[in-house]
C-alpha cells in the first residue's frame, strides 16, 4: 500500500478530473493494483434485451473474478494461467488456456496491465454527461468485438459498451467501485467442486 500511494497521488494530481479518456484509462490502470465493483450488463439486439448482474474483482497483472449472480449463477475466474468457468445449473466446469479466452469477459481485458493498449487502437470519443469516452478498435480482426467504448469519470471506469459483428450491443455499468481493496489470493484460484464434471481444451 505504501508503494502504491505515491502512484495514486501522482495520478490524481497530474490529471484533472476532466482529463481526456485515454489519460484517464492510464491513470485508472496505474492507480488500481486491485479492484472490486458490482456490475450490471444489458445485451441488446434486434428483438432482444437480456439483463444480468454480478460482482467483479481484479488483481493486476492478469487475475480476475467475474461472477454472475442474476439471472443465473456463473463464476468466471482467471488465475493468470487458466480461465475457469463454473456454471452451477449446468453442473459443469470448463478450463481453458487464458490466451484463448480474452474475449470471454471484460475482466480479462481490464486485468491486464497493458492489454487494452497492446491489442486495441485507442481514440478519444468525446464527453457526454460528465463522462469522457474512448473508443477501442481491435488490432486483429478475429477479435469477437468490432468495437469497444469505455467511459471514465474522475479517473475511474464507469461504463463499457461492446459491439460485435452480429449486431449485439453489450452495455456494462460499474458501481461501488473500490480501488486497491485487500483481496484474498483465494478469490483468484478455482478448485472444481466434488462431483462436478470438468472439461478442458
Amino acid at each position: 500500500m505504501k508503494k502504491l500511494l505515491p502512484i495514486i497521488l501522482a495520478a490524481a494530481f497530474a490529471l484533472p478530473a476532466h482529463a481526456a479518456a485515454i489519460a484517464q484509462l492510464k491513470a485508472f490502470v496505474a492507480g488500481s493494483k486491485t479492484l472490486s465493483a458490482s456490475f450490471s450488463q444489458v445485451v441488446s439486439a434486434k428483438g432482444k434485451r437480456e439483463e444480468a448482474s454480478g460482482q467483479l474483482e481484479i488483481s493486476r497483472p492478469g487475475k480476475f473474478r467475474w461472477e454472475y449472480a442474476k439471472p443465473y449463477e456463473q463464476l468466471i475466474v482467471g488465475d493468470s494461467k487458466r480461465l475457469w468457468i463454473y456454471d452451477k445449473e449446468l453442473a459443469q466446469v470448463t478450463s481453458k488456456s487464458l490466451d484463448a479466452a480474452l474475449g470471454s469477459s471484460p475482466a480479462a481485458l481490464l486485468a491486464g496491465s497493458n492489454a487494452i493498449e497492446r491489442d486495441y487502437h485507442l481514440k478519444e470519443a468525446g464527453a457526454q454527461d460528465g463522462i469522457e469516452w474512448l473508443s477501442a478498435a481491435p488490432k486483429k480482426s478475429e477479435n469477437t468485438f468490432q468495437s469497444i467504448r469505455m467511459g471514465f469519470r474522475a479517473n475511474t471506469l464507469v461504463t463499457m459498451e461492446l459491439h460485435d459483428s452480429f449486431g449485439n450491443t453489450t452495455l456494462i455499468r460499474f458501481a461501488d467501485m473500490k480501488k486497491n481493496p485487500v483481496l484474498a489470493p483465494s478469490r483468484f484460484t478455482f478448485t472444481p467442486p466434488k462431483g462436478v464434471d470438468v472439461i478442458s481444451d
Partner: protein, 181 residues
C-alpha cells in the same frame, strides 16, 4: 436453522451446494404434441472426446424457422445457425457455411453434430414425434442414436426440464434454459 444457514451460504458462495436434481416427468399428452413457437435463452456445454466448451445461447424456433446464436458470457455472438425452407446456414469467424441440414453443417463447421430439429422437442422434455423412441426404466429417452436425460429441480418443478443431458458415442451436450418467452 442450520438448513437456512446452508441456504444462505449457498447463495453467497456459489460453490459446492448442489440443488436437488430429480428426473423431469413430462405431462402426458393424449394427442400428438403441437410444435408451438418458442424463444429461449440458456447455456450449453459440449464435450467431445474429453475436450469441450461452455457457451450461452439464444434460440428462436417455429415450425419452419430456427435461429440459434451461440454467445460468449457477455453476450457477443460467436456463431449463428439459421434454418428455413431453403436450407441451413452457419456463420462463424467471418465465414458462412451452407448445407441441407443442421447436423451435417455443425459436423463440418464445429466438428460435432447438433441434432437441432429433434432438440426442439427434447428441450421441452418431449420425445420427437415421427422418430422411433424408447424410454428406459430410469427415465432416459433413447432416440436418433442419442440418450437424453431430463432433469428437474425438486424444489422448483416447472413445465419444462431445468437441464437436458444428451449423450451419444464420445459426445455429450448439456443445456440449461434460464428464460422462456
Amino acid at each position: 436453522m442450520s438448513r437456512w444457514l446452508a441456504l444462505g451460504l449457498c447463495g453467497l458462495l456459489l460453490t459446492g451446494c448442489a440443488t436437488r436434481d430429480v428426473a423431469f416427468r413430462p405431462q402426458a399428452e393424449a394427442t400428438r404434441p403441437r410444435d408451438t413457437p418458442f424463444s429461449i435463452s440458456g447455456r450449453l456445454s459440449v464435450k467431445a472426446d474429453g475436450k469441450g466448451q461452455v457457451a450461452n445461447f439464444d434460440w428462436n424456433h417455429d415450425a419452419v424457422r430456427d435461429q440459434l446464436s451461440i454467445n460468449s458470457p457477455i453476450g457477443s455472438t460467436v456463431a449463428r445457425v439459421e434454418r428455413d425452407e431453403n436450407g441451413v446456414t452457419l456463420q462463424a469467424d467471418g465465414k458462412t457455411y451452407q448445407a441441407a441440414d443442421v447436423e451435417s453443417l455443425t459436423q463440418e463447421a464445429l466438428g460435432w453434430p447438433l441434432p437441432l430439429s429433434n432438440l426442439a422437442w427434447w428441450i421441452r422434455g418431449q420425445a420427437a414425434p415421427d422418430w422411433p423412441q424408447n424410454v428406459s426404466a430410469d427415465g432416459v429417452l433413447h432416440q436418433q442414436g442419442w440418450s437424453i436425460r431430463f432433469v428437474s429441480d425438486a424444489d422448483q418443478p416447472g413445465p419444462y426440464p431445468k437441464r437436458v443431458e444428451m449423450e451419444r458415442d464420445r459426445l455429450s451436450i448439456r443445456l440449461v434454459v434460464h428464460a422462456w418467452r
